[in-house]
């Protein structure tokens, strides 16, 4: 439904400027300008010593489609999708339980616990996982002690460890929007469904799930986007082969000093994420 936009009065325009102005200015300087720089760089060429050569060309974008890079892109996509899915499956029952909890104090306590990890730096928390999953870490220690295993399990420096780290890191971003969405649902609708011959499973499928969709979409986007570009977690917990796009871009900027190529990869990643998000929104309807 389009509401006809009446021309703004002078006073309204002033008010709008005061309210939106500071944010708009901030975003312009610290978001739009850097983005513009990245886009421009992506069309430049790298000199022998890593300097920029101002020569517009599309070579960087052609190089991206190298088989090696496509494999990395594909792997990153799988990691991001897997993380999103696992986060969703783990979070849904928990968010549902939170939303239905009569005891509001317990509920607030649990919500705070979800946010507690944010009080510590992400890097530090990821290092903690190195300890937990390490060869002489508590998990292996316990299993050795009980005699279930003789040799320490290789729990770290592989894809599984990266997955654990990613799910751990981004779980709150799924729980919170899911909780917000489920909490808004009128649960007499579930009773109505039961009254209309739907058993638990069918009431979930036909009523609870569709009505939770805004939260599922928001949570999925909030998890999918950062995991797709993640580089700290695969760097610290992954093995030699566990390279994700984030690591690739990072190494282009810091190690290879090929800023134009790194920029091209960043731009491509952004376009891909934007596209995926748009498709996701379309599929989920205009529920958000």
């Amino acid at each position: 439904m389009a509401t006809p936009s009446a021309p703004l009065r002078k006073q309204d325009r002033l008010q709008l400027g005061i309210l939106v102005g500071p944010t708009a200015l901030y975003l312009l300087i610290f978001f739009v300008l850097p983005l513009l720089i990245v886009v421009i760089y992506s069309f430049l060429r790298r000199g022998i010593y890593g300097q920029l050569i101002w020569e517009f060309n599309l070579d960087n974008y052609v190089r991206v489609f190298d088989r090696l890079y496509l494999i990395i892109l594909w792997r990153s996509l799988l990691f991001a999708l897997g993380t999103t899915l696992i986060c969703l499956l783990v979070s849904f029952p928990f968010a549902y339980y939170l939303a239905r909890l009569e005891n509001k104090r317990l509920r607030n306590l649990l919500l705070i616990l979800v946010m507690v990890p944010f009080w510590t730096n992400f890097l530090v928390r990821t290092y903690a996982w190195r300890v937990i999953l390490g060869t002489d870490g508590p998990i292996n220690g316990f299993l050795l002690w009980t005699g279930v295993i003789r040799e320490p399990l290789p729990l770290i420096f592989n894809d599984g460890a990266v997955m654990v780290g990613l799910v751990y890191g981004y779980l709150p971003f799924m729980v919170l929007p899911l909780f917000a969405a489920i909490d808004r649902i009128d649960f007499s609708l579930m009773e109505a469904a039961h009254d209309l011959y739907a058993n638990g499973a069918r009431a979930f499928l036909h009523v609870l799930l569709p009505l939770s969709m805004p939260g599922i979409i928001a949570g999925s986007i909030l998890v999918f986007i950062p995991t797709l570009g993640a580089f700290v977690t695969p760097d610290l917990l992954g093995g030699a082969r566990t390279v994700m796009i984030g690591n690739l871009i990072q190494s282009q900027f810091l190690t290879a000093r090929d800023w134009p190529f790194g920029s091209a990869f960043s731009v491509l990643l952004m376009v891909a994420v934007l596209g995926a998000t748009l498709i996701y929104f379309r599929k989920g309807g205009r529920t958000l």
Binding site: D186, S188, L189, E191, A192, A193, H194, D195, L196, Y197, A198, N199, R202, H206, V207, P210, L211
Partner: protein
């Protein structure tokens, strides 16, 4: 009133529902009720807020598990059956329409869950939408409908399943007066058309009186009286029922003696009142309450009509209500009585009776009820 030719649709036996409140104390929402509701009957559960109407209805629907007792639907014990396996449907107080589905999908929900063939679903949905006069609204979302229309969708969504019993929890509570009255008639029409048992929860006594075949009056989890609207109004069995349904004057006194037809009562204000007793004799000396409806009292300044109960008093207040006028009369001994006179010819009464005038109040002995509790 017994209805021997009708089958019992719902039978509640010693039904109890207890909740544990946050302080750990037990709240008895429904206190061992027994009730038989017949097929094709428009039956109302009437009572003040918190008396257990909704809880009773939800137990019949299967949305609440009884603490004790049993529920029988058409001779089948359904006490332990989950809601989705019971052949009853509910119209919820706030409609509970599915906001993510259009009207047609809302209405067809129950049929889809029962895996009714698609072609049959379409026909039945169309038919029930016609019944509630919403044929053209099938594609709309609930949010695009008025309150009255949403109400009809909720009704259609329940009725399309051909339930054996339809449960309605204050379905008209959210509508304004005019729409309410229109929907009352509409509901009666629909009930006659589909010919099933409706169990209707309301706290509005007028609504219950005008719509129901029979009414159960509830208070604090108990059923006080089950009767036709006529018997409930004319022959209330308890002070609570007399007070809750309509308006009533209560006069307290002691039984003096019983004739074959009349019981004579000495009121606490020392007048003697006479009440028909229908053969029932009250122990002499028992404390009783006389209940008399205001509209059954004659009032005037001249010669009183030839009836058994005639008292004199003083008008203390007059309230004009348009269709009728209320006169608040003080009898010797300080007892107050309210008389209601229809304003067929208002100037007549008003010209004669004014505040502080001496008047007679009079009523026929069969128009008062004797209450012992």
């Amino acid at each position: 009133m017994s209805q021997p030719n009708r089958q019992a649709a719902v039978v509640l036996r010693d039904l109890v529902k207890e909740y544990v409140d946050p302080n750990g104390e037990i709240v008895t929402a429904v206190n061992s009720i027994n009730l038989t509701i017949y097929d094709e009957e428009f039956f109302s559960l009437l009572g003040p807020s918190g008396c257990g109407k909704t809880t009773t209805l939800r137990m019949i629907a299967g949305l609440e598990i009884p603490t004790r007792g049993s529920i029988t639907l058409f001779d089948e014990d359904v006490t332990d059956r989950p809601a989705y396996k019971r052949p009853v449907n509910t119209v919820f107080q706030r409609y509970a329409l599915f906001p993510h589905m259009n009207v047609r999908d809302n209405v067809s929900f129950g049929l889809r869950m029962q895996r009714v063939p698609k072609s049959e679903i379409d026909d039945r949905v169309q038919e029930v939408l016609r019944l509630v006069r919403l044929e053209r609204m099938g594609d709309r979302r609930p949010s695009q409908l008025s309150g009255g229309q949403q109400q009809r969708v909720a009704l259609a969504r329940a009725l399309v399943n051909n339930p054996e019993v339809l449960l309605l929890d204050e379905p008209l509570g959210a509508l304004d007066l005019k729409l309410r009255q229109a929907m009352q008639e509409e509901l009666k029409r629909i009930q006659r058309e589909v010919g099933i048992c409706f169990i209707y929860v309301t706290h509005d006594q007028e609504e219950a009186l005008t719509m129901s075949d029979r009414i159960a009056v509830m208070n604090e989890g108990n059923i006080l009286q089950v009767d036709t609207p006529y018997d409930l109004y004319e022959e209330p069995k308890t002070r609570f029922v007399a007070d809750f349904i309509g308006e009533t004057n209560f006069l307290v006194g002691t039984v003096l003696e019983n004739d074959p037809e009349l019981t004579h009562v000495r009121l606490d204000s020392d007048q003697i009142a006479h009440v028909t007793n229908e053969g029932k004799h009250y122990p002499v000396g028992e404390r009783v309450t006389l209940a008399i409806r205001p509209e059954k009292i004659f009032l005037g300044a001249g010669t009183p009509p030839d009836v058994r109960n005639v008292f004199t008093g003083t008008v203390r207040n007059i309230v004009y209500f348009g269709t009728d006028t209320y006169y608040d009369v003080e009898l010797p001994g300080g007892v107050r009585i309210t008389a209601r006179q229809q304003n067929q010819d208002y100037t007549g009464t008003a010209a004669v009776v004014a505040v502080n005038d001496a008047v007679y109040v009079a009523w026929r002995s069969h128009n008062a009820s004797l209450l012992t509790e």
